[in-house]
Symmetry: C2
Subunit: 360 residues, 2 copies
């Protein structure tokens, strides 16, 4: 086993090594203040500075306009599936959803508790192997918003362009936030669990347009209102301090890599290597349709399930870990988020070629 | 500044130093597996073992009966203020609450969204300086449960005995869980944010009697149902992995200290030292009534607000940190949770005596 393995896990995913080293130091003694980071009051000057820096880096890196709030929340993206319709839909109001995978489907289920939900498109019949083009569906004109999942982790698909519509977009970006530049002004709400591209599990970031903060009906509990968290700078209650701190470190690292543009370039390079390896072989078959391919999660099959199991097992023994596909798709999946090193992709491609030679 | 300060913060609170040291190691390389703890899939064998161990230690230390589920959740105790009535009260059903401080009051506000809430007692008029005796109030006979906050962090009060009633108890134990033995069978639900007595911010523990899991009305979103989390062993979605891991380490440490009985003895010793210092002086005045005094949070005043500010400031310079009282009570507060070392209390008492000599 090498000193550090290559971790292809879909999430929690690999993190920059320098972030881990810094966190290890600060956990015991933050800034040499004689107190560990995770023991500090969230209202201390020191921790408020940590939160402020994380927010300002995110604003800078994603070019977030001033009329959007950045919230550090808890509960994962799965809680946002309920937060969004609770905050945006009064009874009888309509929203349009695109069903491009399990996470979209789960979001639809929660939204149906609160409003009249139109599912304008579903790729379920093709095991979610693609995302739709604008011309493939119609957004109900009564819709308050169009909801989509930008990157579908399980199937390895991504919207390369966001839908063009006069409705505001609401988007689950859990598995590709910060991987490419965005025009935030087209979105009402963007949310993302941190544990794929931003940090550890336990903190969820929501970017919410200010004018949407006052729409929640009076029946929504305090903690489930975006406004509660926006009004108190994510400090209405004790926030997930360690998670916020780590997100800040990851963002600092990301800025040094050239920001989201630098990341986009690197992500495209990594993905191109892997997709080229798949396309140049009869042994490996990509799951996602070519024009929907994700640069974050690369899904592929081998000739038989037995070979797939053997592939995953042998890869693990040489330090290429976490390549098993999701049970709903089978096969293999290489998750190569922002922090995943290019060398790991190069090593995987070499392993794939060797494995093919031995087994075809 | 000493190498490690004494951290009297009310939460996030001080943690055992050996827990911090272990976490620092595992964050970079968990069990020498070449992968950091916070990068590992929550569904990996290794992380499942972490969660299982944390749960089984909690069961052992609190002697939790088999018909209770232990859930690792997110959102803090503040989210539980809504979870409890959402899961336990159908429209028109009744519950009785005891208003012993800000956190009880906030819980009452959320409960009123879901049921008919009777506030049987309030100590608001005396700045919450005590908790009621059983004879001070009546539980509405139609109540589904009696809700209380076992320890009131801000005011330094604690229920030394839990109410005797034929109703099940629902209890917010955020600031004194694991500080003393409990008869769990008297409770329907116990919940607690981890960041005072169990670990870092970002994980909330709920102990829920199994027969209560099916009571949530169909209108409650998936993520806000206890059953969702119970059915999937707290892995319905990505849990707050780092928090769960740290709770496990704290529980291991706690077991070595003699478990909750060992903790109770130590906590009583620490609190006795501090209350004796207050009672033996005319300079310091305790905020809480003597028979409601908390062994976790010791609140006291000095002759003037100016002296209080000076006290807090001078204490900080000698490494006694976080002694400022909550703005709603003023004065000083020493939070001396499980992990707070006895030597820190001894040092504080010495500092108090010296400060009194110089300033009275």
């Amino acid at each position: 086993m090498p000193e550090r393995i290559y971790n292809f896990s879909p999430g929690p995913g690999t993190m920059p090594q320098e972030v881990l080293a810094q966190a290890a130091k600060d956990i015991v003694n933050f800034n040499d203040k004689g107190i560990g980071l995770i023991e500090m009051s969230h209202r201390s000057k020191e921790f408020m500075a940590v939160t402020d820096e994380a927010e300002s880096l995110l604003r800078e890196l994603l070019d977030i306009p001033a009329n959007y709030k950045v919230l550090f929340m808890q509960g994962g993206a799965s809680s946002q599936f309920a937060f969004v319709p609770m905050n945006l839909l009064a009874p009888g109001q309509t929203a349009t959803y695109l069903n491009t995978g399990v996470w979209a489907k789960k979001a639809i289920k929660e939204a149906e508790l609160f409003g009249d939900i139109k599912v304008a498109y579903s790729s379920a019949d093709s095991t979610y192997n693609h995302v739709p083009k604008d011309s493939d569906y119609t957004v109900d004109p009564a819709s308050e918003f169009l909801y989509l999942v930008s990157n579908n982790t399980i199937y390895g698909t991504q919207f390369h362009e966001f839908p063009k519509t006069d409705k505001m977009l609401v988007c689950d970006m859990s598995s590709d936030i910060l991987s490419r530049p965005l025009d935030i002004s087209r979105f009402g709400i963007i949310f993302a669990g941190a544990q794929k591209n931003m940090g550890p599990a336990g903190v969820t970031i929501a970017i919410v347009r200010e004018d949407l903060l006052n729409r929640a009906p009076a029946t929504v509990p305090t903690m489930f209102r975006y406004k509660t968290h926006a009004d108190k700078g994510s400090m209405f209650n004790t926030p997930p301090c360690f998670g916020i701190y780590c997100v800040g470190l990851v963002l600092k690292w990301l800025k040094k890599q050239g920001g989201v543009k630098g990341m986009e370039k690197l992500n495209q390079e990594k993905a191109a290597l892997l997709y080229a390896a798949i396309d140049s072989s009869e042994f490996y078959r990509g799951h996602a349709q070519v024009d929907s391919r994700s640069p974050m999660n690369v899904t592929f099959n081998l000739p038989t399930p037995e070979l797939e199991a053997q592939f995953v097992k042998e890869a693990t023994t040489v330090g290429l870990d976490g390549l098993k596909g999701h049970r709903s798709v089978g096969g293999c999946r290489a998750s190569i988020y922002n922090a995943f090193p290019k060398q790991g992709v190069i090593d995987l491609v070499a392993f794939m070629q060797e494995f093919e030679k031995k087994n075809s």
